[in-house]
Symmetry: C2
DNA sequence: AGTGATTCTTTATGCCGTAAAGTATCGACC
DNA sequence: GGTCGATACTTTACGGCATAAAGAATCACT
């Protein structure tokens, strides 16, 4: 399920995200949990079992029932928002520009790539309506801080920021889902790929003739890192190559005017 | 739910995708449905209600129960694979190169962009393990056929094909989810944005000072097309700008060696 | 007429998010 | 110090989901 972030009461959501809740104690039993504890537990569960985690599972990890969470968090959607923003706290908030913007953007992109690898479920939280949390802001601020000094106008910069963001997300999604699917079925990448392509070639023997350009595209493979599974190796190769081309484009824009 | 495509029996899935089933009639009642009819109905339901469609809803649209579908299709995952591939049949399979590769890639990207707008649920089908259907192949073949004649080596081309693909998907996802979220809550984009940013500014009044670069990024807006909602206009702007930069990078690669 | 294969429905199982109601525990006030 | 109301948490329950299992209806064949 792709979770459409940011539904429900806006005030409540944003207060939770920015931790602006006024902790005025009244009466009643001491709270045994906290929003932070719940968000951390939920992130841990999602890291292990993917976005299809359940409120019951999060509660169980905390020694509570699922319903206990609703004391602290309005619902699952809001919890996902909080998970999303909080996980991004582990990303750097600024990058050195000593080696130029290109090196810095590359580091930003690599950090994001690795972040998505650690928390693949983040890729399934909607991007459209930003969660508007402090850490999400900080991550984009970091990229903007690298690119603004190039002097490009805001209009162009927004396109570039978007392109870099989309690209990293897309590239990361490819590996992340490859891993997740492998994990879900217990098959390794190679087995999965082998089983499918064998059947495919049996059913459609002249595949290479039907899609000649795709066939050509498969040439000129780099030596495969034997440490990495097949699909993952492919994804890393595409990430590096694609980023290079994209940044070449940015370089053109920076140099031109 | 993001559906991890390509699980279950590989042979059965691929035979369905390539319509390689041997229709040897035996006995029993005449089938009142067909795989095609089911896939079409499912696409229609998903177009209306998003990827969170149910087997019940698809059955209902065909005047059957949900379980009737299982006569034709092994399960929901496989149905999603079939929907994914079949919907792509409406995309062109080749592009003219008379105006050069850049114009052709732009048309390819625009077609994809519009396709995703028509079928936003496609964006939620996993990309990692390709569904391996004929129409998905044809779509990538079309892009490859544009780029291979540039003479770039396969290694570089794969990165470029990936980058263009990721970019279009990412850009499309932004609009698609903006629309979906608006539809889900019944709120228009503007209202949603207004409510949230108002609360945000109330809680965090010096937002612009905390994220100065983000603030700068918002400058220099193009005149907004009053026909389009705010977020959508932004997305179109980003799509055009980002694609331009990306293709500038490709141009560099083509010209260099 | 009977048999077996096939289509489709009915029923049931075990998940899910969460509403509603109940129980236990505390602070504040009389 | 006893009561009252607020709070934390559990229990139970509801409707929805994919789909397993079993049964009913329909046809081709002998």
């Amino acid at each position: 399920m792709v979770v459409y972030a940011g539904q429900g009461d806006p005030r409540r959501s944003i207060e939770l995200l920015w931790r602006a809740s006024v902790a005025e104690k009244r009466s009643g039993p001491k709270p045994g949990l906290s929003v932070d504890a719940i968000v951390d537990a939920a992130i841990a569960v999602a890291d292990e079992h993917g976005m299809a985690f359940s409120m019951r599972a999060v509660g169980e990890r905390l020694g509570r029932t699922a319903m206990a969470l609703y004391t602290y968090v309005p619902g699952k959607n809001e919890l996902v928002d909080l998970m999303y923003d909080r996980s991004m706290a582990e990303l750097p908030t600024s990058y050195e520009l000593d080696d130029g913007w290109r090196a810095a953007v590359t580091r930003w992109a690599t950090d994001m790539w690795e972040f998505y690898g650690r928390h693949p479920w983040v890729l399934q939280v909607s991007q459209a309506r930003p969660v508007l949390g402090p850490h999400e802001f900080a991550v984009i601020e970091a990229l903007a801080a690298i690119l603004v000094p190039t002097g490009l106008p805001g209009r162009e910069l927004r396109g570039i920021v978007g392109a870099v963001n989309y690209f990293v997300r897309g590239a990361a999604q490819t590996v992340a889902e490859a891993r997740a699917a492998g994990g879900a079925t217990g098959e390794a990448d190679e087995e999965w790929w082998y089983a499918r392509s064998a059947v495919l070639l049996e059913i459609e023997p002249d595949l290479a003739k039907k899609f000649p350009m795709l066939h050509l595209l498969e040439n000129d493979r780099e030596p495969i890192d034997p440490e990495l599974p097949y699909l993952e190796n492919d994804a890393v190769e595409n990430f590096r190559g694609g980023l290079k081309v994209l940044l070449d484009g940015v370089e053109g824009a920076v140099a031109k005017p």
